[in-house]
């Protein structure tokens, strides 16, 4: 990889040889790369991911500080998106060909085709600049001391609205399309004709017969999304200056902070694997056939 880390850390072209040698030793840059790699693997088992070049602090510490903001924002956005996306998908599949369906399909396709960051810019320009309802960036109003915990939560909530809206709008499109497609498949199955012939109401048919059979692909999509979300929030976090993992990664990349970048990649990989693992467990719970 390009960019000599030493020159990035020192930020001083006239540094003395002694200072360079000391920095080299501190960050472990003196050894050949394979030794560095072995040391990295060894430290990994001790829970030590090395020192961040940019923050001059342990990588674990830097990452841990940034996890909560991302989790809060992504968590709320995911819950809203799953709920609204599934609802829209069910309605548009059931009312296929009607105006509601055309609207829901059009809406999902448009949000799905939209660059995420652009949606963010539009939200900012309407709600922060135009209407002045919500703040443009950050997690809390800078430099403010809060009179009570309630005031702090209120301030945080106001900062959350726009990023969460942007992220969930993008996800809703994807969830709606998946839900609608799978449900349309389910509706052509013979057992759906049977249950209709039995004379059950629409509500009952959807809840008890159609939805459970359409859940498997939904769980897959949700799991994939949960795993990818840290990467996906790079755009949102950049636009809204949200102090989370996505922006941290972007900073690390721009400043050639390799240990930090490695740490974030490790976190992303682990979360992808974890999300897939959870999906597998959910499968066997939802569909007894998977167990065998």
């Amino acid at each position: 990889m390009p960019g000599n880390p030493l020159s990035m850390i020192m930020r001083n072209p006239k540094a003395s040889p002694e200072a360079i040698a000391r920095t080299k030793e501190l960050f472990g840059l003196g050894q050949p790369w394979y030794i560095q790699f072995l040391i990295y693997i060894q430290n990994l088992f001790k829970g030590d991911l090395g020192l961040s070049f940019l923050y001059k602090k342990p990588v674990v510490e830097v990452i841990l500080q940034r996890i909560m903001p991302t989790l809060i924002m992504v968590g709320i956005a995911e819950i809203i998106a799953i709920f609204v996306g599934m609802l829209l998908g069910v309605i548009s599949a059931w009312k296929r060909g009607t105006k509601i369906d055309v609207f829901a399909l059009g809406f999902s396709l448009v949000t799905y085709s939209m660059p995420t960051f652009w949606l963010g810019i539009i939200l900012i320009s309407i709600f922060s600049i135009g209407l002045r309802i919500f703040p443009t960036s950050g997690m809390f109003t800078p430099g403010q001391t809060f009179s009570s915990t309630f005031a702090m939560i209120k301030d945080g909530a106001m900062h959350l609205v726009l990023p969460v809206t942007a992220l969930s709008l993008v996800l809703i499109g994807e969830f709606t399309l998946t839900m609608r497609n799978t449900l349309l498949d389910v509706f052509t199955e013979d057992y759906m004709t049977t249950v209709k012939a039995k004379g059950f109401g629409d509500n009952y048919i959807i809840r008890k017969h159609a939805l459970p059979n359409a859940m498997l692909p939904m769980i897959t999509i949700i799991a994939i999304n949960l795993g990818l979300i840290i990467g996906g929030t790079i755009q949102i976090e950049t636009i809204f200056s949200w102090p989370g993992i996505g922006r941290l990664m972007y900073e690390a990349l721009k400043n050639r902070d390799y240990p930090l970048l490695q740490g974030i990649f490790l976190l992303i990989t682990v979360s992808v694997i974890l999300a897939n693992f959870i999906a597998d467990i959910t499968y066997s719970y939802l569909d007894p056939r998977v167990k065998n």
Binding site: V110, W118, I122, I124, I129, G232, L253
Partner: protein, 292 residues
């Protein structure tokens, strides 16, 4: 023999166009796409864009007027002309990246499916790796390593978006491989290479084609995102670069809607048209979907 084959292909093609004309989504998609291709290629010839033409003092961020239909940007340049020139760059990047991606996806898919055994296992694990790894972080790192030139961006998008195609092509190859005509050709004495190129490739081609359209949509969004995050080619003002400079210059906070809205709308429309075309081809080439 070859004339019969040609007749059959001709018949298939006419049938395809007859079906396509009946497909509303396909017609809308094709219409939008043709409009954008004409506008950006012919339009940028009629209204050439000069990135060094900064206009007079005080001409920056002017709202739309007769002289500048879409106003001016932060450096006093005409937004409309930039939009036309930018469209050409974005479309070219999309098409070239898609060609790389299709090429890789088809070769890897056919080889894995046809050769089977160890080749299949190795190639598919390789594909899984690209399928599972979070896309944006990977692309960001690659683009940062290679440096920001338009060719690198095309290359990066191309080599990160082929995995889905490889999977689909492999599945189709597996089923074609088992058909009697392949066995007959092998009995005549054709070698593996000839079978793959002359007999399997034409049969998976419709599928590759349908996939091409969806990958093009992804490629254009990717270009926009990469450029927006500051990894684009500064010398080529694509739609992504326009959005990047609009955001960096604070167009959103100064209410210069004519600067940041048009490029985004263009991206959404082009991506939407590709998605529509993809849906239409899928419906025509997959007779199973038609009855729904």
């Amino acid at each position: 023999m070859s004339s019969i084959k040609r007749e059959m292909r001709k018949k298939n093609l006419t049938e395809f166009f007859v079906n396509f004309r009946k497909n509303k989504m396909g017609i809308i998609g094709a219409g939008i796409l043709i409009f954008f291709i004409l506008a950006s290629f012919l339009g940028s010839m009629i209204f050439p864009y000069d990135p060094m033409n900064f206009g007079e003092v005080g001409s920056s961020l002017q709202p739309p007027s007769i002289e500048h239909i879409l106003g001016t940007d932060d450096l006093g340049r005409d937004v409309f002309k930039n939009l036309l020139a930018g469209g050409r760059i974005s479309l070219i990047v999309g098409v070239l990246a898609t060609i790389i991606s299709m090429f890789l996806g088809t070769i890897i898919g056919i080889t894995a499916g046809y050769m089977g055994k160890k080749t299949d296992i190795i190639l598919m694990r390789f594909t899984d790796f690209f399928l599972v790894i979070p896309w944006l972080p990977l692309v960001l790192v690659l683009a940062a390593i290679l440096g920001s030139s338009i060719w690198n961006i095309i290359f990066v998008i191309g080599i990160t978006s082929w995995a889905g195609t490889a999977r689909v092509v492999r599945a189709q190859t597996l089923s074609i491989k088992e058909r009697p005509f392949i066995e007959r050709i092998r009995a005549i004495g054709a070698d593996d290479k000839a079978i793959m190129i002359r007999h399997i490739l034409p049969n998976v081609f419709p599928l590759v084609f349908a996939n091409t359209i969806l990958v093009s949509a992804v490629a254009i969004i990717s270009e926009t995102t990469l450029s927006f995050l500051g990894l684009g080619d500064v010398t080529r003002p694509s739609w992504g670069m326009m959005l990047n400079s609009a955001f960096e210059s604070g167009a959103a906070s100064s209410g210069a809607y004519w600067y940041f809205l048009p490029p985004g709308i263009c991206v959404v429309l082009v991506v939407l048209s590709f998605t529509f075309l993809g849906y239409a081809f899928d419906e025509i080439l997959n007779p199973k979907l038609r009855r729904r």
